[in-house]
């Protein structure tokens, strides 16, 4: 990629993307993950058209119906119904909105705040660096889910608070990554040149240095997107995340726990939805890492 940088700016960006895609495309798993993810986004955005039923409508004459292909199933409820007669497929479709929303919000918050803190720590150094990094150490000293649980206990159980808690817990990774890349970039000649030519510190931080630190941050964003979905589902499962009747996948699992032996499908499908979504995003994350950072390439 070093020779690319000698071209003019717009060309460079285009070539970078082409180059990236050429690498990414060769990773079949990553492409499969991407296709699944795009399909999921379409499903989430079009839930109102796609879902056959309302996610909270209770069909009292169809309680705990098994999936359609099993004995006693009904094709109008393809994946069956839950204990109060809600259509499982529709709830899963609407649930995708929540999971994607959680991922987007958590990653955005953690990324923006984390990058700012990391930039400040890496650029200024000294006591402010020490201060920020020690606070991150403290957050990392607690097991993530436990800290998130405690934060939700303080803020009160809700989807919003769960997202805030998860964003706080994921913060340190972004701060550490940004700081490390900033510090290695700071000793480069182009930063020196920018400094000498009198670029203001803020511009130096965000315009000169930050774009060169993006590769690891993008990979981290993909990985923490999936962690956010998992953690939010775990909080929902423990009753500390989205509250019923929200069709959030983890909350659905919590509601269906008592029926695991009588009606396994109400447990199976929401979990399967979480697993496949998280797996798809992790596949994308692996592909991103291999494509963006050849040094870390694993095979």
């Amino acid at each position: 990629m070093a020779d690319v940088t000698q071209n003019s700016a717009p060309d460079t960006r285009f070539e970078l993307i082409v180059n990236f895609w050429r690498h990414f495309r060769t990773n079949r798993g990553a492409v499969a993950g991407l296709i699944f993810f795009i399909a999921l986004v379409i499903i989430a955005l079009g839930a109102w058209f796609i879902a056959p039923h309302s996610p909270i409508e209770q069909y009292r004459d169809a309680l705990l119906l098994p999936p359609a292909w099993q004995e006693g199933g009904d094709w109008s409820y393809v994946l069956g119904t839950d204990a109060v007669g809600r259509d499982l497929l529709s709830r899963l479709i609407y649930g995708s909105q929540y999971s994607l929303f959680i991922g987007v919000v958590v990653v955005s918050v953690a990324l923006v705040v984390g990058v700012c803190l990391g930039l400040v720590a890496g650029t200024f150094g000294g006591w402010i660096d020490t201060f920020i990094m020690r606070i991150m150490d403290i957050i990392l000293a607690f097991p993530s889910l436990l800290l998130a649980l405690v934060l939700v206990a303080i803020l009160g159980p809700s989807l919003l608070n769960a997202m805030i808690a998860i964003a706080v817990v994921q913060q340190p990774y972004y701060v550490r990554l940004t700081r490390a890349s900033v510090m290695s970039e700071m000793s480069r000649e182009y930063v020196m040149a920018a400094r000498v030519s009198g670029v203001r510190t803020l511009r130096l931080m965000f315009v000169t240095v930050l774009p060169n630190c993006m590769a690891p941050l993008i990979v981290q964003a993909a990985l923490s997107f999936s962690t956010a979905i998992l953690d939010a589902a775990a909080l929902g499962f423990l009753g500390m995340g989205a509250q019923p009747p929200t069709p959030e996948w983890g909350t659905m699992l919590a509601e269906s726990r008592e029926f695991i032996l009588r009606a396994p499908w109400v447990v199976t499908f929401p979990g399967l939805a979480i697993l496949t979504t998280v797996l798809a995003i992790n596949l994308i994350g692996d592909g991103l890492r291999d494509a963006l950072d050849p040094k870390l390439k694993r095979s």
């Binding site: 798993g29 020690r134 606070i135 150490d137 403290i138 990392l140 000293a141 607690f142 097991p143 993530s144 889910l145 436990l146 649980l149 405690v150 206990a153 303080i154 009160g156 999936s226 998992l230 589902a233 775990a234 499962f237 423990l238 009753g239 500390m240 983890g250 699992l253 726990r257 695991i260 032996l261 396994p264 447990v267 199976t268 929401p270 979990g271 979480i274 697993l275 998280v278 797996l279 995003i281 992790n282 596949l283 692996d286 694993r298 095979s299």
Partner: protein, 336 residues
């Protein structure tokens, strides 16, 4: 070495203070009056309220309250549970062995399966076996373990009836807690079949808790092995005509293990987070379930104390891992 230990310990002091501050402020950050929170749903009379305000020192300036809290900590006083009235530290100590037992078993399971899986994948690099192992590992890494636990219960407890659903041992047995570790205590007791019952209760939680560490270890082992297999000394070993087994099992693995051991150590925090979910699913009477239950019961002194204890344990384990890393990696040992 001693200097290194002291240096690392010194670095931990600010984190330790931060952790105590976090757990100190936890009760004060909760919405509502701390005394009313501590009193729970019964409420208190105004006289008793004032008494308690003085007893807990809530009228003192905040820094003084914190110093008192720190002083109590160093005397092993973490407060008492509102629900059981037991000292928090004592409750923690009775429940902790259950979590350690589960955690150790899960880690053993993860290492015993994950390490060979990673080695095989690296040796068969690019082959179908490699792809299969790595896809499985990524699926394990993406696993919502609370669902995984429920699935295993459906299959092994519900359909096959092989394993019990919850707890540490069948109600038929009463085992004197000598060490707190059920596997050891059942062996010490003369009850026939008790050990088997304890083992059968451990199997599913072990698999569930061990899944994510297993995936991480398999992935890490593979990439560490791949790196090492390209090294000159491995080629030399092959050129000397050593058997494939010797080259991979001894020359390569010994060096590949260094990063893997670090990863294993760093899984301790992950293990605690996983224990919260695993213990809740299997009603395993350990620290994780205790914390979740206490949050729901609004037993805040327990949450406060447990939070601190767990953070301190994670910090200590990370320190030990750090030092061990220095011991096994000559590059670090010699450069101080």
């Amino acid at each position: 070495m001693l200097r290194l230990i002291l240096k690392k310990l010194g670095l931990l002091i600010p984190t330790f203070i931060g952790v105590t501050l976090t757990s100190f402020f936890f009760i004060r950050l909760l919405p509502g009056d701390p005394i009313l929170l501590l009193a729970g749903e019964r409420g208190v009379s105004p006289e008793r309220y004032n008494e308690l305000m003085i007893q807990f020192g809530y009228n003192d300036p905040i820094w003084q309250q914190y110093l008192t809290y720190l002083g109590n900590l160093f005397q092993g006083d973490l407060g008492a549970s509102i629900v059981t009235k037991q000292p928090v530290l004592q409750e923690f100590m009775t429940l902790f062995p259950a979590t350690v037992e589960l955690g150790v078993c899960a880690m053993l399971f993860a290492v015993i399966v994950g390490l060979p899986a990673g080695i095989i994948a690296a040796v068969k690099r690019g082959k179908t076996l490699d792809h299969t192992v790595m896809t499985t590992a990524l699926a394990g890494y993406s696993m919502p373990i609370f669902w995984w636990g429920l699935l295993l219960i459906i299959l092994f407890s519900g359909m096959l009836g092989w394993t019990p659903v919850s707890g540490r041992i069948s109600f038929m047995y009463w085992i004197e807690p000598v060490t707190g570790f059920m596997l050891i205590d059942t062996l010490l007791s003369d009850e026939p079949g008790a050990f088997g019952s304890a083992v059968s209760h451990l199997i599913l939680p072990t698999i569930v808790l061990g899944t994510i560490p297993l995936a991480v270890i398999a992935r890490q082992t593979r990439s560490a092995m791949l790196e090492v297999l390209d090294e000159d000394y491995v080629r030399t070993a092959r050129a000397k005509g050593l058997s494939n087994f010797r080259v991979i099992g001894i020359h390569a693995l010994r060096n590949a293990l260094i990063p893997v051991i670090t990863i294993i150590g760093l899984q301790i925090g992950v293990l605690f987070a996983g224990a919260i979910l695993t213990e809740s699913i299997f009603s395993w009477p350990g620290v994780g379930k205790w914390m979740v239950d206490s949050i729901f019961r609004r037993d805040y002194p327990v949450v406060q104390g447990g939070l601190l204890m767990i953070a301190v344990i994670v910090m200590i384990v990370n320190l030990i891992v750090d030092l061990m890393y220095g011991l096994i990696n000559p590059k670090i040992r010699h450069t101080e």
